[in-house]
């Protein structure tokens, strides 16, 4: 899943006191309306995660459609730190997420600023920029696998026009991770752009008029008016894109499958290999729990950044 939307402020200000009348008093319907969502979340998120947690202390074999479990204690967790693939996956994922999201932020902001300056063609630009968000990650992998092909890919062809020798972008370990990062920047810059553009469009206009009357240059207007006002949007977008970039799987699966060597091994892919390819369910569960723990840490950082940015705003 590459779900993008950020949780809104509104979603986290629930249950404002109902005023007057009987709104909100219908006990039966209060439960009828809430229980399907509650049921799904309990059955399909809480229960599986509990199951995952239990499995992480066990060895599991499938026999005749039934799981045969035996106790493994803490052995799986003890084995994690020395798993070379897992370590490569973790460090690559951090490098990938940080560099890709930074690139997306800078380019997205630049595009949003430029787009907010034009009146003609804004809708058309936006339509084109949105396109990558709507394409399946796996197809983005396919598109760039063709684009970056050594023999006939458009990238090498174009570089050839200006006299640069063809390069095996995905096959060489020095450029494989870089290529994956660039593909992700291509994929998600549009999303940052869209949020920033919406942020800019919702800024109060009178500050800009005041700045213009005071004779501010375009740079001063950006540096001292737009940028400070956008800081909350920027921080929140950065934090949440970072956590979501941590999930990367689809593009890597098709572009490089973690290779060459471990140069593009990312954590989701390691998880997939251990759990599904090697069928090590107990060990894979332990790795899942570890990854979820790391993501939760990131989330705590993200939420405190959000709180701080709310305080700024």
């Amino acid at each position: 899943m590459s779900t993008t939307s950020l949780p809104s402020q509104a979603a986290f200000e629930p249950a404002s006191r109902a005023s007057g009348a009987a709104l909100g008093d219908d006990r039966l319907w209060r439960w009828l309306t809430f229980s399907p969502a509650l049921g799904l979340m309990v059955l399909l998120t809480a229960l599986p995660l509990a199951n995952l947690f239990v499995s992480s202390f066990q060895d599991i074999l499938w026999s005749g459609g039934q799981a045969v479990r035996s106790n493994a204690g803490l052995a799986h967790y003890a084995a994690l730190p020395s798993d070379a693939l897992f370590r490569a996956g973790l460090s690559n994922t951090f490098v990938f997420a940080l560099s890709a999201v930074s690139g997306q932020m800078v380019l997205g902001l630049l595009l949003a600023l430029l787009c907010s300056k034009v009146t003609r063609g804004r809708v058309l630009y936006r339509a084109i920029f949105i396109l990558p968000i709507l394409i399946p990650g796996i197809v983005i992998g396919a598109i760039w696998k063709l684009m970056l092909n050594f023999d006939f890919g458009l990238v090498n062809q174009t570089l050839g026009l200006i006299g640069i020798a063809p390069h095996d972008w995905l096959g060489a370990s020095e450029t494989a991770l870089l290529s994956v990062v660039l593909v992700d920047i291509w994929h998600w810059t549009p999303f940052c752009f869209l949020l920033f553009l919406a942020g800019i469009e919702s800024l109060p206009q009178d500050v800009f008029e005041a700045a213009r009357i005071d004779g501010a240059t375009a740079w001063q207007e950006f540096r001292f008016v737009t940028l400070p006002l956008l800081v909350p949007t920027l921080i929140v977008t950065f934090a949440f894109r970072l956590v979501l970039a941590f999930k990367v799987f689809d593009e890597v699966y098709l572009l490089t499958s973690g290779g060459p060597g471990t140069s593009t091994e990312v954590v989701s892919f390691t998880l997939y290999q251990r759990f599904f390819t090697e069928d090590r369910i107990g060990y894979g569960s332990a790795m899942s729990v570890a990854v979820i723990f790391i993501v939760s840490l990131l989330l705590v950082v993200a939420l405190s950044a959000r709180k701080r940015s709310d305080a700024v705003a």
Partner: protein, 278 residues
Amino acid sequence: MSSVAVQRLRSALVHAVLIGFALLIAVPVIWTVAAGFRTQISLLMGDLFFTPVFFNFGEVLFSKTSDFLVNYRNSLIVGITSTVLCLVVATLAAWSLHRMRWPRWIPNIFLAWTLIFHMIPPVALASAWYTMARTVGLDNTFTGLILAHTTLNLPMAIWLMSVFVRDVPKELEEAALLDGASTPVLLRHVVLPIIAPGLAATAILTFVFSWNEFAVALTLTMKQTATVPVAIAKFAQDFEILYTQMAASAALSILPALLLLLIAQRYIVKGLTQGAVK
């Protein structure tokens, strides 16, 4: 230079940069779609101009070894069903959490949990779902994948619908109650018409994300139930050198998104930005 000329020059520069970026985004997609209309030889030769052929699309859609039409149908079944389910569940929950008198901690904890769940890598979940689905016999069924996609998209749908539900004037709901409307009547005749545009925006995004989802579909489906992304990944790995057919199947798989972008850009933008801005 007069100030009008400076203004013109600046605007031209801005447009030039924007067009440059638009090309960076559009060209890879166009080039890949075009590759679907080429012969393998023409692609390998790298000719700029070529006579379009429909061979690749024919092979992808109708050859005996290809299941692409089945995959397309599967993706539609899973996408549409999970979208409808997700919208009903999310809208009811959003309305309930924001308009019914719950003790504060219930919505707070529930919404925090949706946020945490949204951040967990799908592969980690896929492993848990796989074990569960296999135990109760739902692996390799549409039901399993539909439930999984509904759950995956539920957090986003609830956040979005929360925004739209809160836009419904409270006075209107209270007036309806005073007139003796029951809760179902209130939902159907007062709330629903007002949130309809928001529902459309949420529906489009939910469908697109279900259509695009790969990791969970990969683990919960087999040959008969595989969705389009799973099929493309398999094709790319099994027949790595059939480049033009890979391009053709990529082109076919982005058709729904392109159609939605053409007819409903407004709703897509609304859905993608609403949660963040409000």
